[in-house]
Symmetry: D2
Subunit: 159 residues, 4 copies
């Protein structure tokens, strides 16, 4: 079933107030979308973050991502920097999946890693506190976010 059909059904359930939460089929669709994604893009000039993301993608048996070097600091002027960065990348390149990391909201709100499909729809996301709060290394925060973003939709490591 296509995501359009899944969304149409879910919308009708919501409007008729008969929806009882996400279903196994909906989660499986997202898992399969990620597994079948051939062109994955990470909009970032930071090769270290790209490597961390790719290591995790490999552990989960997913396609490695390509770096997209576009101006991303402009995204920080928006209310949802991480998501704005993802949409900016989607508008500037053709791909199956975009993995974007940036600030969640206002300055001080910590970070978010978000995965969107080829139409800009959000498949999964994970947040981290600011470095000032979690005291972790950035690489550990990035790794934690992408592992969580994949595990929360039921994907598992294969390596």
């Amino acid at each position: 079933m296509k995501l359009e059909k899944i969304i149409k059904n879910a919308c009708e359930e919501s409007i008729s107030e008969s929806r009882t939460g996400d279903t196994e089929d909906e989660i499986n669709f997202i898992q399969n979308y990620l597994k079948s994604a051939r062109k994955i893009i990470v909009p970032s000039k930071n090769a270290v973050k790209l490597n961390i993301i790719n290591n995790v993608l490999k552990e989960f048996g997913l396609q490695e991502a390509e770096q997209l070097c576009i101006n991303t600091s402009a995204a920080d002027l928006n209310r949802l920097p991480a998501l704005s960065k993802a949409i900016m990348a989607l508008d500037q390149c053709e791909c199956d999946l975009i993995i974007s990391r940036g600030r969640l909201g206002v300055p001080g709100s910590g970070s978010m890693l978000v995965m969107i499909d080829k139409k800009g729809r959000i498949l999964t996301a994970a947040t981290s506190p600011s470095h000032v709060v979690h005291k972790k290394e950035v690489k550990d925060a990035v790794r934690g976010e992408i592992v969580h973003a994949l595990e929360r939709i039921g994907l598992k490591r294969i390596k």
Copy 2:
């Protein structure tokens, strides 16, 4: 300092590519905004969820939230249901803070609890997998989200 000034400074840092992540002052501002919020709104017809949220708010020494009974299922037809629900509530009532819980993105993407200020800016958020994945009771998921949303900006329990 006002949030407008904090955002203006952060934008200038981003544009000049001199920004090095969230600062202590930015996080303190968010904490103080939450502590000083007098009118907190939860857009939901579900009194159980409201109680769970209020119990946690009390544990963190924050003002209890009021229920706003507006039609929220319409928010599910949008790409960011939880955030759309928050903005819908903001447009229909005057308040300091909105705490909104709903689906993160597409059907299957799990839930998000988001807190926005009186202008609709995102202060913090937390996500949970779908019930199908985490198998937890909804009340535990809601409790986990709001505790995480508060702790990730450095707030601590006082009770």
Copy 3:
């Protein structure tokens, strides 16, 4: 040239503050996108409005649109009802172009007709005052909006 490349170039011009407005090539791209659109969708339960839109599309030598009967009143709860309706339709069906008409902003702000591409990007739009202000028949307002939306990107009648 693909729209992704056009947008990438325009973004780089904007960031380097060297952009001097829309170019002929950019406008030609939009014209050709509309002329080559094979599946055009109008999210509306109102067959009269669909006919008016299709009459104008025929006059401009464009493909006729198909009706998409989804729940659209939920879009009115958002800040940009016309655009929200378009994105809702995009999420529920595969197509080349969506032509969506609805309220512009808050109640009283009149209407907007907007055309988005298969990724949800805005190609053109036109606004009308509220009926209370323009006193025109709805069909004349709809006709005026779509003619203006097409002419403002340089398209001309061929019949």
Copy 4:
């Protein structure tokens, strides 16, 4: 009546499918909001455009706008540059009304002038074709947009 109450009523009408378009009261509210706006902001580094806007505001008996010199080219990287610029300005300054002019959508889609209130809600807007299509001077296009944006919500010149 407050705009929150007006929006709440309109949402209920939309959900119950009993809404029959904008009402006189809704339009009057927007007119009075503009007439009572004391702090009006135009996010632009272009003093010529500010003067044109202020001349028209004076003709309509409205408060003159103040210039806000923030980085606005970053807004062009978003899907709705004119509206993104308005929200960026709203996030960086306290005011009653923001008048923002920028590109409507993708490169080639012409311009839009939009007015948002202190919460970021759209009160009115007007579009213009690209200069390549309308061949007008920029100052005439700006003047045409703001006159149309005011007249379409029923405001009239008083000078």
